[in-house]
């Protein structure tokens, strides 16, 4: 068991290998820090970028995503003890979305596991957590190394994304099914492509050596010119991910390693992720706590809301009725969905109000030229995702 620390502390904010290319396209100088890197929030306008996700192809630099290589004879039992899902079912060249919990069954983080070889995995996470990963490795023959800086990554997402990749020369990329991994050549550089993403749309993630980053960015931009390719920032992606019903760490839940107040931790059962919890696979961290939580029954659930009106219910408190006397939860993520034309939100709601079809009331504050108005809006508990086009799963994807 060994670990390495990437020197992310030496420089306040690192630049990704795509930085120069992205900077050249940035029209509004809107940068935000993400996991120790400077990244772009908005290139031009959020609307333009968002509609490119749903109508064309987008490039999103996800290099800052924290990546760990997990390898060794015990890599599989190690990962199976770490995460709640059964990784034994994950075949080589496949990806699995998963969460991992602390002893109390509360989520530490969510992420994806890439099975790159027989006992060679990559774990992509939102937060750095080598400490937890190494402590989880006590008693396992496994080597864990952070490889965030060794791998550059671009999300290529949108209905024309497959066509763009093919035009760039990735022959056979169209046979990749959702969560498949493939290895290709692009302009003389080896790239790994996974059919994964955070948009809920047709899309891929392209993983490469940082030295090839600019060449691959240029190649994709050239190949996508006639298919409306556009670089996007985090704001547009956030709209797409809410439509897709995906959770954002520190927005829809706070890592159990970071919460201070009791009761602020969230379990996968509460976040509607029971399908990720496999009680039959053997022991994993948090299993005993989750078993008893399941026996007790969920006290609250993260659900989708369809809210009357067109004003996003940012941070709204939720009530049983219009009078607003009994508080039953709050909104974690809210947007006006441009594609669904619905006012949608993700919200944490107490039992029994989280049942699909229940009605709750959202207290929305509106800033009308510095005069605040309060509006109680009727909201219905609905299924997630809000937007799930057939094309996200179609294999091969449609030609454009």
């Amino acid at each position: 068991m060994t670990g390495s620390l990437a020197p992310h502390f030496r420089q306040p904010l690192l630049k990704t290998p795509f930085h120069e290319r992205a900077r050249a396209l940035s029209q509004v100088d809107s940068f935000i820090p993400w996991a120790g890197y400077t990244t772009i929030d908005v290139f031009t306008t959020v609307e333009q970028e968002y509609f490119a996700i749903r109508n064309a192809t987008t490039l999103y630099d996800l290099t800052p995503m924290v990546k760990y290589r997990v390898a060794g004879a015990d890599a599989l039992p190690y990962l199976n003890r770490l995460v709640t899902r059964d990784i034994a079912k994950l075949k080589p060249n496949r990806v699995a979305y998963c969460v991992w919990c602390n002893d109390a069954g509360h989520i530490i983080d969510d992420g994806t596991i890439f099975r790159l070889g027989e006992s060679d995995y990559r774990l992509c996470t939102a937060e750095r957590q080598l400490d937890w990963l190494l402590d989880s490795a006590i008693g396992f023959d496994v080597e864990i190394n952070e490889v965030t800086e060794e791998i550059a990554a671009l999300a290529v997402q949108g209905p024309t994304s497959c066509a763009v990749l093919k035009a760039a020369g990735l022959r056979g990329v169209d046979v990749l099914k959702p969560f498949d991994i493939g290895h290709f050549e692009l302009g003389g550089h080896g790239v790994t492509v996974s059919r994964t993403g955070f948009t809920g749309d047709l899309g891929y993630e392209v993983w490469m050596d940082p030295s090839a980053a600019e060449a691959i960015w240029d190649a994709l931009m050239a190949a996508g010119r006639s298919r409306g390719i556009r670089a996007i920032g985090s704001q547009a992606l956030n709209i797409a991910r809410i439509e897709a019903g995906f959770l954002s760490p520190n927005v829809d839940f706070v890592s159990a390693e970071h919460t201070i107040r009791t009761g602020r931790d969230r379990s996968p059962l509460e976040l509607g992720l029971s399908w990720l919890v496999d009680f039959k696979k053997g022991h994993f961290t948090g299993r005993r706590a989750l078993m008893s939580e399941q026996a007790r029954g969920a006290q609250r659930q993260l659900i989708g809301l369809d809210i009357a009106g067109n004003k996003p219910a940012h941070n709204s408190l939720l009530y049983t009725d219009e009078s607003g006397r009994r508080e039953i939860g709050s909104v974690t993520s809210a947007i006006w969905s441009p594609t669904c034309k619905r006012n949608i939100a993700l919200a944490m709601v107490n039992a029994p109000h989280f049942r699909i079809g229940s009605t709750v009331w959202a207290e929305i504050y509106l800033n009308r030229e510095l005069v605040w108005e309060r509006r109680m809006s009727r909201a219905k508990v609905v299924e997630r995702p809000f937007f799930a086009p057939e094309r996200r799963r179609a294999t091969p994807p449609a030609e454009f």
Binding site: R81, I138, G139, F140, H283, R287, R288
Partner: protein
């Protein structure tokens, strides 16, 4: 020793036939449980055993004095009826001083010290008596809304409140202090302070100036209070005789004991402990497995982290359990003659810790992976009270060497001989002619103690007794009530409350938890 008709599945398997394992087994068997004790070594006793170390010479190879064994437990298990006899009780303590003098503890004091000593001793006895009942109970869990836990917390608080305003205030004042400051406050005599301070740090990873050493002293005194008024004792036949009596009590109650049966693994089925696999490959089924092995050995080696949560494993891994004591056994062709020591002094315990500064200095070296050229020693000559331990006319010297680091910087290859030479020269300076009378010698470093007694880190308390490894956080939260996160697996060793020292209460408290749970068969 297994009974002829061994059941196919036992109610309880006890791992380890040390005193705690045997007490646990005897208590369970007396409550009607079918019990099998599995001992890795070829003889019972764990670190409370008597064995030969040189041809014809026998010694208590681990602990060499009995002073914490609960009087209630001795009565309950009728150990004297099972053949436990005493070679000595109420043994005196004598301080060996530089320049070859010696002084019995509490004697030859200035008028001020005489007065202070009597006040101090009486007060510490009151504190010890107040704390003693805590030892025989399962510690409460913190932060639960369970009434039993709250009640237990209240009882601890009441025990302390009952001391009265003045004493309670004093207890709370000194509770977090270091023993160096406490003794400096009270006494003038360096020899007295050294000897009293020694008891606060014996077996601990602390110097007298380390925080929490008043707590370790109170712990020792409270355990002694729970043991009754018999003081330092020496069982006839050594510490092994105690475990022989315990095993007879266990066997008489129907338990079975197998020696030479090292456990390789605790077996788990359906997320509960269901038995063990021995190193021989043999599997034994049981409804409950109760381990007297130290927590690290139990959880990390016998059970394995993959049956436990990461946070719990992290806590177990962080238990401070590096031993800091070595043991020296000498076979002598005549009784040692310590300068200025009376015949009666040799019947008792000799301490070489002439001042608090001497102790602190010895500790300083250990902090940096070395041993001091002037270590502190606790010496007994058990053959004075119990001549049968050696051939006629010959003697055994047994010494605990305080502050010998487990991870010696220079390595034990060269360190072993250097330590032996250091201690023998030191002994020679107090007992001239001793070296010439040595027929055989055995030195057990913390690494040897780890190997011989299967204690991870060679720490005879199975983990430091310190504020953060004490009571309801001993060994770690989540396993401090003898139950573990794994259904059916329990701890009963020194790693649990109330801790190390040959006391037996961890074994009994654990057995009572098991009995309480199994009133309704599961």
């Amino acid at each position: 020793m297994a009974s002829s008709a061994a059941p196919s599945r036992y109610d309880c398997l006890v791992i380890g036939a040390g005193h705690n394992g045997l007490v646990c087994a005897a208590t369970l068997a007396r409550a009607g449980r079918s019990v099998l004790v599995l001992e890795a070594a070829n003889q019972i006793g764990g670190a409370a055993l008597t064995r030969e170390f040189a041809p014809g010479f026998r010694v208590s190879a681990g602990a060499h004095l009995l002073h914490m064994m609960s009087a209630d437990l001795l009565r309950e298990l009728q150990l004297e009826a099972q053949g436990l006899e005493w070679a000595a009780r109420g043994m005196p303590t004598t301080a060996l001083l530089p320049g070859g003098a010696s002084v019995p503890i509490g004697a030859s004091l200035s008028a001020a010290d005489t007065q202070a000593y009597s006040v101090y001793s009486a007060r510490m006895r009151r504190f010890a008596a107040a704390l003693a009942p805590i030892f025989a109970r399962t510690p409460p869990r913190l932060g639960t809304s369970d009434w039993a836990d709250r009640w237990a917390m209240l009882k601890i608080g009441w025990q302390i409140r009952k001391l009265g305003r003045q004493d309670m205030r004093e207890l709370l004042r000194i509770g977090g202090m270091n023993v160096f400051d406490l003794l400096e406050e009270n006494f003038e005599s360096a020899a007295l302070k050294g000897a009293l301070g020694f008891d606060a740090v014996l077996g601990a990873n602390f110097g007298p100036r380390s925080p929490g050493t008043v707590l370790t002293l109170l712990y020792r005194l409270a355990a002694e209070a729970a043991a009754g008024a018999s003081g330092l004792s020496q069982p006839r036949g050594g510490m092994g005789a105690l475990c022989d009596a315990l095993s007879k009590a266990a066997l008489a109650a129907g338990a079975a004991i197998r020696t030479g049966a090292p456990v390789a693994q605790i077996r788990v089925e359906g997320d509960r402990a269901c038995g063990v696999t021995l190193e021989s490959g043999e599997s034994i089924d049981a409804r409950r497995v109760i381990s007297s092995a130290d927590p690290k050995t139990t959880f990390l080696r016998l059970l394995g982290p993959r049956h436990l949560d990461t946070g719990f494993v992290r806590r177990v891994n962080h238990i401070r359990s590096r031993g800091l004591c070595a043991k020296l056994h000498l076979a002598l062709d005549q009784a040692p003659r310590f300068s200025g020591l009376s015949e009666s002094g040799l019947r008792g315990r000799l301490l070489l810790a002439p001042s608090l500064q001497y102790l602190e200095h010895a500790y300083n070296h250990a902090k940096y992976g070395e041993f001091s050229a002037a270590p502190a020693l606790e010496i007994t000559v058990p053959t004075i009270n119990d001549p049968a331990l050696a051939p006629a006319g010959r003697h055994v010297l047994s010494a605990i060497i305080q502050y010998v680091p487990y991870a010696l910087k220079e390595g034990w290859q060269s360190g072993r001989q250097r330590l032996l030479d250091t201690v023998l020269s030191l002994l020679e300076s107090h007992a001239p002619g001793l070296r010439a009378s040595i027929i055989g010698a055995e030195l057990l470093t913390p690494v040897d103690i780890e190997r011989e007694f299967h204690i991870s880190g060679g720490h005879w308390h199975h983990g430091d007794l310190a504020f953060d490894q004490f009571l309801m956080v001993r060994p770690v939260p989540g396993a401090a009530q003898y139950r573990t996160p794994l259904e059916g697996l329990f701890l009963c060793g020194a790693g649990c409350h109330p801790g190390g020292g040959v006391m037996g209460l961890a074994g009994r408290n654990a057995a009572q938890e098991v009995i309480k749970l199994s009133v309704q068969p599961s």
